[in-house]
């Protein structure tokens, strides 16, 4: 059974409080020890997220190293998100959703064409947002590793299958991470309209941050 863990942190004390519209993104720095909460305001919204060691952007989040070292394919409270050098970047400290994906990658205009056809080539996609906001801090296409999909449900099966299922998230569900070192967080609030990862209707999310500036 999934264990849901709430956070003791209170929104009025947050130093970051920002709503990210559907299809928009965010890049920012979380100092070591700081906490970032992502609130799924309307439920069933995928939030594609990358983390980087702020002191060395090449030491970036590694989805595959993370799931291998924890021995489980899904992320939840207690998951330590590791870098390519196996350094913990952030730890999930609270989670009222219960389970998050890190194997489904980010949507892109090019992969939308593969999955849905040429009519989706000019639809907005997470990779566009990653590149646009990443450029502000020197993160380019070669620096985009495989991301976390907070609130997204991508079940694996023992026979080696993978599916995109309806979300397990709900309005107001949130996930919170604690930075284990100074990290850069790069977020795309997924604009995908071709599958159930956003409940067919992308919606805004709220970011809350607690740290001493």
């Amino acid at each position: 059974m999934t264990v849901l863990i709430e956070s003791p942190l209170r929104p009025p004390a947050a130093v970051l409080d920002r709503t990210v519209a559907a299809g928009d993104g965010y890049v920012g720095r979380i100092p070591a020890g700081g906490s970032l909460r992502i609130v799924d305001l309307h439920g069933n919204q995928a939030v594609d997220t990358l983390f980087y060691d702020a002191g060395n952007l090449a030491n970036r989040y590694s989805a595959f190293d993370t799931i291998r070292e924890q021995g489980s394919a899904y992320l939840t409270t207690g998951s330590r998100l590791l870098s390519v050098d196996l350094d913990p970047l952030v730890t999930i400290t609270a989670d009222t959703c219960g389970r998050h994906d890190t194997l489904g990658g980010a949507c892109a205009q090019e992969s939308n064409v593969v999955r849905y056809g040429m009519h989706t080539r000019h639809q907005h996609a997470c990779r566009e947002t990653f590149l646009r906001y990443g450029a502000e801090v020197g993160i380019g296409a070669r620096d985009l590793g495989h991301n976390v999909n907070f609130f997204m449900n991508v079940p694996l099966t023992p026979d080696g299958g993978l599916t995109f299922a309806n979300g397990v998230s709900a309005p107001g569900a949130y996930v919170e991470v604690r930075a284990e070192r100074d990290v850069v967080v790069l977020i795309s609030n997924c604009p995908q309209v071709n599958n159930p990862c956003n409940g067919w209707d992308p919606t805004p999310v709220r970011l809350l941050g607690w740290w001493s500036a």
Partner: protein
Amino acid sequence: MILSHDIPAASYWSVRLRTGRLLRLTALDDGAVCSALIFAASDPVDRLNVPDTLKAQLSARIRPPMVLMSDRGTALCSVTGSSLDWHDCLTGHSLDGHAEAAGRSSNATDRNDWRRSARYGLLSELRKHGRGPTDLHGCVNFFAKVAIGDDGRLAYDPRHATAGDWVTLRAEQELLFVCSTAPHPMSPTWAPGAVRAEVHVGTRYGPDDPSVTFRPESARALAAAKAVTT
């Protein structure tokens, strides 16, 4: 056959493949693993995208007749055949810590039996091609299986591949294929195996090719590769 090369256990290698060529990998020892990175040779950025490959074909493993897809939504290669129906692509390659767990090792003490991780080997080979750490990405661990439990638990299967197991890849555009034969990172022991790599001329495929007919997504990635090679 154009080329045949035996990659020793716990070594590394790379090869450029022209469009249409077939790369056949054969395990020469029980438990051999070939951790591979694949790049579009003519593009400085485009490379294998494991998540896109999996979600487009609704699979958590690599098997025939899947198409391995790039960031740009093009087919890099098709898995045209294999004696195994499961090649791991979820758990990354071994790092220096995995090699050191078997004891410290160096060229000075162990000469060419020096234990080096897949990371060491892949980076060494990438640097020969003007590439580096930013080019490390999700790899395919050919011949390895990490079983998936009902709750997402991951368990390495140490008895998956035996000597003689094989897989064939058809290059759908000009490729750079970089690989290491270091043990799988979840292997409980340092017991690497050798792998034979053969490059064959290959034949043109038609509309009834199993990779084309596998899924509409596979066919669209193959069409996108055709568009960059013709």
